[in-house]
């Protein structure tokens, strides 16, 4: 978000201005450029993003079989707890400290939050600790997104190890390039790749790694002939509702201020999601003579994914295109591509997050407009074709890094622990075999 930063400057100059203005009063000194309104908004946004992980747990958990629902929820709570600790110890530093290894990753300056203060972060008007925890919520949900690809067959121990390493070796570097690095992307990002709230860092990253994981894990028993329908669709719908709600913190919160840019991100996020839900529903209707609810919520999530990198840069009408397009590409990936290639990405993490994420990153290069508040960049449709190439480059970098590192990690873990549970365990279900619990009593 070197770009985002730039985007923010005006707002921040303003923040500074206020500080100056108040410098006369004792208050000012004490307050040191922290804006109460901005702080309130980012506090709330952090809470909203936290909620997205339980929300995701239900979105995924409702789609698996009864015997595996707890394993999904457990893996999401693993992310909530493990990633948080890793983040405050190493992750934040690796992502946001000054360059190390020539910008591949951040240095150790902030290990254990050393030097992360309550002073305004960078040129923002919120405390550094708040920026840290807000970003920490992103570091929780991103690995959690991959859970949908492992579903119903991966060893919990292997998941713990993989998730932890993945955060440090895949997420943090990419986050550093896009948001934390001086030049970003090994200095290449200097040319201004746009990613407002995490299209590359979060969705492409997780989506591609998920694909790799599902290929290495292999298919579930009986896939595709006799896998069973979602055991509790209302749970998936509940998850979607909470995701939509939380995503406002994810996207609009990324403005790091309660300003016009946040409002723009809020509006575009909402509109794109609605458009995507409509499109997927329509495709179902045409294809199966009935619109399905699972289709509509899958579309909504695809729209949320695609608008993530774009939300601060496009207009509400542009957002309709970004969202609508997201459902088209994701629908194609889920309904045509996956069956054809025959991999078992159980809950379509790649189809929804990977493919719609890539679409979103590109679409940002198409519909970005400098008319958006605090934004200075135009996309193809506003006369700046170059931006598309810049976006493509960022996408390519992310895909390659995520794919290669995830592949290596999984191979190694397979040797050390083994990735997959036994046939018998898979049949009985992970809840009982991996966690010694049953989700619902049949008789009590």
């Amino acid at each position: 978000m070197s770009e985002l930063r730039r985007g923010l400057r005006p707002a921040l100059r303003l923040g500074a201005a206020i500080a100056v203005l108040l410098a006369a009063s004792p208050a000012a000194a004490q307050d040191g450029g922290i804006d109460k309104g901005d702080t309130a908004w980012v506090l709330v946004s952090s809470a909203l993003v936290l909620l997205m992980t339980p929300a995701l747990a239900f979105f995924y958990g409702g789609l698996v079989r009864r015997k595996n629902v707890l394993s999904i929820l457990m893996q999401c709570f693993l992310c909530l707890s493990l990633m948080t600790i890793l983040w405050v110890m190493f992750g934040f530093s690796l992502a946001f400290a000054p360059d190390a290894l020539g910008g591949l990753v951040g240095g150790g300056d902030y290990f254990f939050l050393r030097g992360v203060t309550f002073e305004p972060w960078g040129s923002t008007t919120i405390p550094g600790q708040l920026f840290m925890v807000f970003q920490g919520m992103f570091a929780i949900i991103t690995p959690a997104l991959m859970v949908g690809a492992f579903a119903e067959r991966m060893k919990f121990s292997a998941i713990c190890l993989f998730m932890g390493l993945w955060l440090l070796l895949v997420y943090c570097p990419v986050a550093h390039w896009v948001w934390g690095g001086a030049g970003g992307f090994f200095g290449l990002g200097g040319d201004g790749a746009l990613d407002f709230a995490g299209g590359t860092v979060v969705h492409i990253n997780a989506g591609v790694s998920a694909l790799v994981a599902s290929l290495l894990l292999g298919r579930r028993q009986g896939y595709p002939t006799s896998t069973s329908p979602p055991h509790n669709l209302p749970f998936a719908v509940l998850g979607t509702g909470l995701l939509w709600f939380g995503w406002f913190g994810f996207n609009a919160g990324s403005a790091l201020a309660a300003n016009e840019q946040a409002v723009n991100a809020f509006v575009t996020t909402h509109v794109a999601t609605a458009a995507a839900a409509l499109v997927w529903g329509g495709l179902d209707w045409m294809r199966h003579k009935r619109p399905t609810l699972l289709g509509v919520i899958t579309g909504a999530v695809s729209g949320l994914v695609a608008i993530t990198p774009a939300c601060g840069f496009v207009s509400p009408l542009g957002a309709i295109c970004v969202g609508g397009g997201a459902s088209l590409v994701a629908y194609f990936a889920v309904v045509k591509l996956k069956p054809r290639l025959g991999y078992d990405d159980s809950l379509d993490v790649f189809g929804v997050h990977g493919v719609a994420g890539i679409w979103g990153a590109i679409a940002t290069g198409l519909w970005a407009t400098s008319a958006s508040p605090n934004s200075t960049v135009d996309g193809l449709f506003y006369g700046n074709p170059a931006q598309v190439l810049i976006q493509l480059k960022a996408v390519a970098f992310t895909i390659v890094w995520a794919a290669v590192v995830s592949f290596v990690l999984l191979k190694v873990i397979d040797l050390v622990l083994g990735l997959r549970v036994g046939e018998h365990e898979e049949r009985i279900g992970l809840d009982l075999t991996e966690h010694r619990e049953v989700a619902y009593t049949l008789v009590d």
Binding site: P229, P230, D284, R287, G295, V334, V335, P339, D348
Partner: protein, 113 residues
């Protein structure tokens, strides 16, 4: 003694229970089941993956009765569950060798009611 098993449409349960009441057949056990019958299930679709002719919800009731009650039990069920449409269901009659009332340890016909 007979052991009557009937499977029919869930939304007929209340009617059937009422009919049985009228005939003074109060004791019934009800189970939630799924059935595949003449009435082919509508195929469900999940992310465009068709679930082959999915099973339909039905309800199953079990009634142990003395032989003299058999006919009116069947009549009551038919009266309550009949709609003339495919999917109405079936009644099965098995012979019941013994019956024990747990509360009193009574056995045989007396224990049934």
């Amino acid at each position: 003694m007979k052991y009557v098993i009937a499977i029919f449409q869930p939304d007929r349960l209340n009617d059937v229970m009422a009919r049985l009441e009228q005939k003074e057949i109060h004791l019934v056990t009800v189970t939630n089941v799924m059935g595949r019958g003449r009435q082919k299930g509508v195929a469900a679709v999940y992310r465009s993956h068709k679930e082959a002719g999915s099973l339909l919800r039905k309800v199953k009731i079990e009634i142990a009765v003395n032989d003299e009650y058999l006919q009116q039990t069947i009549d009551a069920i038919v009266a309550g569950a009949h709609s003339g449409e495919i999917g109405d269901g079936k009644i099965f009659v098995l012979s019941l060798e013994e019956c024990v009332r747990i509360r009193t340890s009574e056995t045989g016909s007396v224990a049934i009611g």
